[in-house]
C-alpha cells in the first residue's frame, strides 16, 4: 500500500543542510590564514550565516511541501519513500539506506527545520563577532543534517547514523569555546554518556536482527503489529530489545540514569542549547519509541518501566530547577523535567500526547532559551539570576516574549503547554488502574511536578525581569537585542500561545488534529494495547475535573512563585539558610552526578591505573623481562663453575660418566 514511485527529492531535505555546512566550513577554513593575522578580518566568513539560514529555509520549504503532499494522500497510504541506496550488504547483513516521509517524520522535520531556521536567524545575530563564526554555522548545519537523517531514515542503522551524528555535533558545539577549558570537559562528558546510550541502542539492534532478520523500521512495525501471538522466547527477546532501545533513548533524551550531561551541556552557546538541548536532539528518544510503538506496546513490562523513569526524571528535573541560580541551568533542568513528562506519556501508551508535548515544548523551550540568550547577550555574558533583575524596562520585547514562553511552560490555561501537559496527565490518570494503581501514583508525581514547574518558571521571570537591578551600572549597560534576534522570539511566542490548537482535549468536541494525523503510525501500537485490555476512556466529567485541577495548580503556584521572588533574592537566601542540606542536594540534582563520579568514574580510573601499572608493567612485562633476566643469571652462575682446576674438571667428568651409566641402567 506504499506509494510505489520513489521521491528522490526527499534526499534534498537532509542534503541541503549538509551542503550548507560544507560551504560554511570551507569558508571558515579559507579565512583561517587571514584570521590568524587579524582576528576580525573574517569578511567572507560573514557569508556563512546567510548560507546556513538559506539551507535551513530550503529544507523547511521542502518539509512543508512534503507535508502538503502527504495530506493529499488518503490516511492509510501516507508514506513517501525514496530510492534506497544499498549501504551494507556484507556478511549476511543487508542494510539499505532510504528516506521515508510519513506523518510522524513529517511532523518532526517541520519542527526541526522550522524551529531550526528561527534559531539560525537568531544565532547570526547572537554569534556576530565570534572568532569561529563560520565554524559555528558549519557545525549547526551538520547537526540539522544528522537530525534529519535520524528522523527520515527507513532503517534502524540509518537512524543510528543520525543518532551518533547528533551526538558528535553536540560534542563539537558544547565544546565550541574550548579555549575556556571546562566546556571541553562538558562536551566529553556529553559524548561519553551518549555513547553509553548508543551501546544499549546497538544491543537493541542486534536483538532486532535476531528477531526479524532485518532492520527496516516499517517491516518490524508491520510484523509486530500484524502478529497474532508470540512464543515466550520471542516475547522475551522483544521486551529485551525494547528495553535496550529505551536505554539508548535515555542516553540521548537525558532520562533518569543518563541525564547528568544535559545541565553541563549549557557550556555551549545559547542557540546550541536552544536547538540541540531543547528542541531537537533530546526529542530523538521519543521519536524512536513512537516510531516502534508496536514493539514497545507488545513488550509487556517495558512500558510501565518507561513511565516510572519518565515520572522520576520529571520530579528530579523539576525539584532541582527550584534552586538553580544560573538562568540556563534552570531551563536545562526544566527540559529534563518536560522530557520526563513525554516519557510518562509514552509509558501510559499515549503516543500522540507525547508527540504533541514534544512539539509544544520545542516552541516554548526554544523561545525561553533564546530569550535567556538575549538577556545574556544584553548583559554581556552574565547568567547568574542573582546579578540580574528589573530588566523588563531595558529589554521590553525580550521580556514580553519570555513571559509568553514562561506562561506556556508553567501550563497557564489556554496556552500550548497547558493542553499538552494536561493531556499527558489525563492519559496517565486514565490508565491508573493498571499494575495495581501504579499509574495513579505516577499521575500524582506528574501533578506535583506541574506545580514545581509553575513555581520555578515564575521565580525565574521574577528574578530576571522584576525587583531591583542587582548589577553594577557603570560596567553593565543592558540593552535590547537587535531585531534579527527578537524577531524569531516573537514568532516563537505566537507559536507557543497558539500551539495548543494542535491537540484540543476531546471534551471540547473538536478533533485532536495531531492524533488523527499520526493515526497511521500509532494505530498498530494502540491496537495491541487495546488487545491486552489496556485501552482506557475518561468520562467527560472526569476530564473537566482534571482540566480544572490543572489550571488551578498552574495559576496558584505561578502566583506564589512570582510574589515570593518579586522583590529580589531574599526568598532564595531564606530557603538556603533555613534548609541548607535540602538546598544543597536539590542544587546538585539529588547529588546523582557526584555519586556517578564517586561510584563509577573513580573506580574505573583506579582500575585503569591498576591495569596500566600493576598488571601490565609489573606482571606481564615483568614476566617477559624476567625470562630475559633468569637466562642471564643462569649463565652467570654456571660461569663460576669453570674455575680452571683440572681436578674439578675430572670430578665433573666422573659425575658425567656416572650420570650416563645411571641413565643407561634405568632406560
Amino acid at each position: 500500500m506504499q506509494s510505489h514511485e520513489s521521491h528522490a527529492w526527499l534526499w534534498w531535505i537532509p542534503l541541503l543542510p549538509l551542503i550548507g555546512s560544507a560551504i560554511a566550513g570551507a569558508l571558515h577554513l579559507a579565512t583561517l590564514r587571514a584570521r590568524k593575522s587579524d582576528p576580525q578580518a573574517s569578511a567572507p566568513a560573514s557569508l556563512a550565516p546567510w548560507i546556513a539560514c538559506g539551507a535551513m529555509l530550503g529544507a523547511f520549504v521542502l518539509s512543508v511541501t512534503g507535508f502538503l503532499e502527504l495530506r493529499d494522500l488518503e490516511p492509510s497510504a501516507r508514506a513517501l519513500a525514496s530510492t534506497a541506496h544499498d549501504w551494507i550488504s556484507i556478511g549476511g547483513l543487508d542494510v539499505d539506506l532510504g528516506l521515508v516521509l510519513d506523518p510522524l517524520s513529517s511532523v518532526m522535520t517541520l519542527v526541526i527545520t522550522g524551529v531550526g531556521f528561527l534559531i539560525h536567524v537568531y544565532a547570526s545575530g547572537y554569534m556576530k563577532g565570534d572568532r569561529g563564526y563560520g565554524k559555528f554555522f558549519a557545525y549547526l548545519n551538520l547537526f540539522v543534517f544528522a537530525m534529519l537523517m535520524l528522523v527520515l531514515s527507513s532503517s534502524l542503522l540509518g537512524v543510528f547514523i543520525g543518532w551518533e551524528g547528533v551526538g558528535l555535533c553536540s560534542f563539537l558545539l558544547i565544546g565550541f569555546w574550548y579555549e575556556k577549558g571546562w566546556p571541553a570537559e562538558a562536551a566529553q562528558k556529553a559524548f561519553v554518556m551518549n555513547r553509553v546510550g548508543d551501546a544499549c541502542f546497538l544491543i537493541g539492534s542486534f536483538l532486532l536482527i535476531r528477531l526479524f532478520g532485518t532492520l527496516d523500521l516499517k517491516t518490524i512495525a508491520d510484523t509486530v503489529g500484524s502478529a497474532v501471538s508470540f512464543t515466550d522466547e520471542q516475547a522475551l527477546h522483544m521486551s529485551l530489545a525494547a528495553l535496550f532501545l529505551f536505554g539508548g533513548c535515555c542516553g540521548k533524551s537525558a532520562q533518569f540514569p543518563l541525564f547528568t550531561w544535559l545541565p553541563d551541556a549549557m557550556a555551549g552557546p545559547t542557540p546550541v542549547s536552544a536547538l540541540i538541548h531543547a528542541a531537537t536532539m533530546v526529542t530523538s528518544g521519543i521519536y524512536l519509541v513512537v516510531r516502534l510503538n508496536p514493539l514497545f506496546a507488545a513488550s509487556g513490562w517495558v512500558l510501565p518501566l518507561i513511565a516510572i523513569v519518565g515520572a522520576l526524571t520529571a520530579l528530579i528535573g523539576g525539584s532541582t530547577a527550584l534552586v538553580q541560580r544560573d538562568i540556563k541551568k534552570v531551563l536545562a533542568y526544566s527540559t529534563v523535567s518536560q522530557l520526563g513528562y513525554m516519557f510518562l506519556a509514552l509509558g501510559s501508551g499515549a503516543w500522540a500526547a507525547a508527540v504533541f508535548h514534544l512539539v509544544t515544548h520545542a516552541f516554548f523551550k526554544a523561545l525561553l532559551f533564546l530569550g535567556a540568550g538575549s538577556v545574556i547577550h544584553g548583559m554581556h555574558g552574565e547568567q547568574d539570576m542573582h546579578k540580574l533583575g528589573g530588566l523588563r524596562r531595558h529589554m521590553p520585547r525580550t521580556y514580553i516574549t519570555f513571559l509568553a514562553g514562561a506562561a506556556a511552560l508553567s501550563g497557564l490555561p489556554l496556552l500550548s503547554g497547558f493542553f499538552s501537559k494536561d493531556e499527558i496527565l489525563a492519559h496517565a490518570f486514565a490508565s491508573g488502574g493498571l499494575y495495581y494503581g501504579l499509574y495513579y501514583g505516577l499521575w500524582a508525581v506528574g501533578v506535583i511536578t506541574a506545580a514545581l514547574t509553575a513555581y520555578y518558571t515564575s521565580r525565574m521571570v521574577a528574578l530576571t525581569f522584576f525587583g531591583e537591578e542587582r548589577f553594577d551600572h557603570h560596567h553593565v549597560h543592558p540593552h535590547e537585542s537587535p531585531l534579527v534576534m527578537t524577531l524569531p522570539l516573537m514568532v516563537l511566542a505566537v507559536l507557543s500561545i497558539l500551539g495548543g490548537v494542535l491537540g484540543l482535549p476531546p471534551v471540547l468536541h473538536v478533533p485532536h488534529l495531531l492524533a488523527e494525523w499520526l493515526a497511521p503510525v500509532t494505530d498498530a501500537g494502540n491496537k495491541i494495547l487495546a488487545a491486552s485490555h489496556r485501552e482506557h476512556h475518561l468520562s467527560h466529567t472526569l476530564e473537566w475535573i482534571l482540566l480544572g485541577l490543572g489550571s488551578a495548580i498552574a495559576l496558584g503556584f505561578a502566583h506564589t512563585g512570582f510574589y515570593a521572588h518579586r522583590h529580589g533574592t531574599a526568598q532564595d537566601e531564606f530557603f538556603a539558610h533555613k534548609r541548607p542540606t535540602l538546598a544543597a542536594t536539590l542544587g546538585d540534582a539529588w547529588t546523582i552526578d557526584s555519586r556517578y563520579a564517586r561510584i563509577i568514574v573513580l573506580p574505573l580510573r583506579m582500575l585503569s591505573f591498576l591495569i596500566a601499572v600493576v598488571v601490565d608493567q609489573f606482571a606481564i612485562d615483568g614476566l617477559v623481562n624476567g625470562t630475559g633476566r633468569t637466562a642471564r643469571d643462569i649463565a652467570q652462575y654456571s660461569r663460576r663453575a669453570v674455575d680452571g682446576s683440572l681436578a674439578s674438571y675430572a670430578l665433573w667428568m666422573g659425575a658425567g660418566a656416572l650420570a650416563i651409566c645411571a641413565l643407561w641402567m634405568w632406560s
Binding site: A647, L651, G654, A657, L658, C661, M665
Partner: protein
C-alpha cells in the same frame, strides 16, 4: 687349579691398582702399575688370549711404562718425594668424599651391569687351552673387516709422533733464551 691362580692374580691386579693411587712417589705408582700389568697379562693367558698377553707385556709394560719411567727420570720427580707429600694428600675433604662416592657408584654400576649380562651359566669350559685369538683368525679379522680402523690407527700414531716432535721442538727453541709463551 688354574681358577685359584686367577683369583690370586685378580687380587694382585687390584692391589697394584690401589698401589698406583696410594704410592707416595710416582716411582712407587709406576712399579705397582707394572705389577697390575703383569697380573693382567697372565689372566689373559689363562683366559686363552696368548697373543694379547704378549701384546700386553710388550706394549703396555714394555713401551708405555718405560716411557713413564723416562719422563719421571727426565724431570727427576722421583727425588722430590717430600714435595709430593703435599700433592699426594687428596684434595680437600669435601671433594675427596665426592670423588670416592663417584668411584664406588661406578663400581656398583659395573657390578650390576656384569650381573645383568645374561651370560649362560658357564659349564666347565671344555678346553680353553688352544688360543681364542689364533693368529690367522685374528689377522683375517684385523685386515679383513677392520682394515679401515687399522689404517685409521696408523694415521693416529703418525699424528701422535708429529705432535710429540712439535712439543719437543718447542723445548729446544726455549733453550735459546726466549721463553716460550
Amino acid at each position: 687349579m688354574s681358577s685359584i691362580l686367577f683369583y690370586i692374580l685378580a687380587l694382585v691386579a687390584l692391589l697394584g691398582a690401589a698401589g698406583v693411587i696410594l704410592a707416595k712417589s710416582p716411582m712407587g705408582s709406576v712399579i705397582s702399575l707394572l705389577g697390575t700389568f703383569f697380573a693382567l697379562a697372565v689372566i689373559y693367558l689363562l683366559a686363552g688370549f696368548q697373543f694379547l698377553a704378549a701384546a700386553q707385556i710388550l706394549v703396555y709394560a714394555g713401551a708405555i711404562l718405560v716411557l713413564f719411567l723416562f719422563v719421571i727420570m727426565l724431570l727427576n720427580l722421583g727425588a722430590m718425594g717430600s714435595r709430593f707429600e703435599l700433592s699426594f694428600a687428596p684434595l680437600q675433604g669435601g671433594r675427596a668424599r665426592f670423588a670416592g662416592a663417584i668411584a664406588v657408584a661406578l663400581a656398583l654400576v659395573g657390578l650390576i651391569a656384569a650381573q645383568r649380562t645374561t651370560l649362560a651359566a658357564t659349564s666347565a669350559p671344555a678346553a680353553d687351552a688352544q688360543a681364542i685369538d689364533g693368529l690367522e683368525g685374528l689377522a683375517l679379522e684385523l685386515f679383513g673387516r677392520y682394515s679401515l680402523p687399522f689404517q685409521a690407527v696408523s694415521v693416529l700414531l703418525l699424528a701422535t709422533m708429529v705432535a710429540v716432535i712439535v712439543l719437543a721442538k718447542r723445548q729446544r727453541a726455549g733453550e735459546h733464551g726466549e721463553q716460550p709463551r
